[in-house]
Amino acid sequence: MTLRRSAALSFLALAALTVACSEAPQAPVAPEAEVTGISEALRESRDLVIRLSVPAQALEGAGPVLVRIEATNVSTRSVSVPRWFLQDGELEEALFEVTRDGRSLPYEGMHVKRPAPTAEDFLTLAPGGTMHVTVDLQTGFDLSRDGVYGIAYRGQTGIGPTARLVRSAVQPLLLAGRLPKAVEVGEVTPMAGTLTFAGRCSSTQQTQIRASITNATTYATESDGYLAAIMSGTNRYTAWFGTFSTAAQTQMKGQFANIRNAFETKPITVDCGCKKTAYAYVYPGQPYKIWVCKAFWTAPALGTDSKAGTMIHEMSHFTIVAATNDYVYGQAAALNLAATNPTNARKNADNHEYFAENTPFKN
């Protein structure tokens, strides 16, 4: 096992970055698109051979799924690898292509924004050298269901124009006895829908999420009722959705009825695995799964940009719920959008959230 730093490499990294990064006086330019994402057009490396292994062909029960990555330099020259492609522990990149019963699984782990790499960001493998690391596949993929999984490594050597794709063969793995990571405790709540947790939510987090869904249901019910009752443009309506018309009111009433219905009757999954600074995210075409991120945990339970309001925001994004967009973020911009472009305001997720939160209170 060789882990020596190559001086030649810092030059290589700098050369690759000159395109994206002229002098940056204030904030570092973020060239991560060139640095971390594996460009799909890369040629394959013949220098580095990757072998995967798992503790057993079949694993029983919940718990980590450890995959050992062994990298061997089969060429006659040194090979450099950005260290995040060969790193122990938690996944920081989409390093694997994973399938379950033949269907590919999305990468759900971290996606680290990195500054310009320096020589320290590279591992060097001498000719003939081998190294290995072990990662927990669960930190990047939803392995909560039983099935036949296929795991293939997908990393790269070098960087910039000299980068090459590195792939392994597919390692099959049978997982059995894996329960959904956590299921709602059978408390009496006003919801008929079920709530499932993913991404290793702690018990405190589960409590907070459960409360946020209950509060969001209350918000949606109140908003739905309010929109049904008004006969003209109230302060609250026009602030967030602009000029009043019966057609616009009907549209908003329909969207909030859908949001309410989803909270009350649909199976919702909340995933705590996101480490981004954002509040939350969803895939609009994949109802009703919501990932909550760092800002969510420090948000208040109710009021502006609250946990409950964030749930309204995210639920409104799903195509079959209200198909909202993120035209603008934040209260000031949302108020301005309603005043200048009501059509977009009626399809902007933050406008839905702020209408529902109604903070500061408007009649």
């Binding site: 002229s22 002098e23 940056a24 204030q26 994402g37 990932w291």
Partner: protein, 150 residues
């Protein structure tokens, strides 16, 4: 009149169905002041975070398949700075945001909006969410032909 950012979009003209498709954005600053912009919703974020492009196949709109993110306050690291006369580029796999598996003629119409744009070096970054100045980023359209795999 302030000098706008100049945007160039690069796409392969023709690919075989199932092959990866990289979209490259190259922004240059022809003006005399530096320009800092928030990378949100652009390839400079390194991932798709919203439907910032209209994609149609033979005229039919194609749904956005990526995530949509509710933001917290921005951090300074989320800004990209282009010095006067400088250039930055970023690349994203288009097929990670949109379904491009079916053969056809695809039209790629960028609708990028920069959530905050700061000209000159006097403003401290990041700005608060309610002090941000949004600007559309005008980029050329692209055409892409996806041919069947044989």
């Amino acid at each position: 009149m302030r000098a706008p950012l100049r945007c160039e979009l690069t796409l392969p003209a023709r690919v075989t169905s199932g092959d990866p498709i990289a979209l490259t954005l190259r922004l240059s600053n022809p003006g005399a002041e530096s320009i800092a912009f928030l990378g949100w919703g652009t390839p400079f974020e390194g991932m798709w975070t919203g439907p910032s492009i209209d994609v149609t196949r033979d005229g039919a709109p194609q749904p956005y398949l990526g995530p949509m993110v509710k933001r917290g306050a921005p951090s300074a690291e989320e800004y990209v700075v282009i010095p006067s006369q400088g250039v930055v580029t970023a690349e994203l796999p288009l097929h990670e945001g949109y379904d491009l598996s079916r053969p056809g003629r695809y039209q790629i119409v960028p609708r990028f909006v920069l959530h905050d744009v700061v000209r000159g070096g006097d403003v401290r970054l990041p700005r608060r969410l309610d002090a941000m100045r949004q600007e559309p980023l005008r980029c050329p359209e692209g055409l892409l032909e996806i041919t069947p795999r044989h």
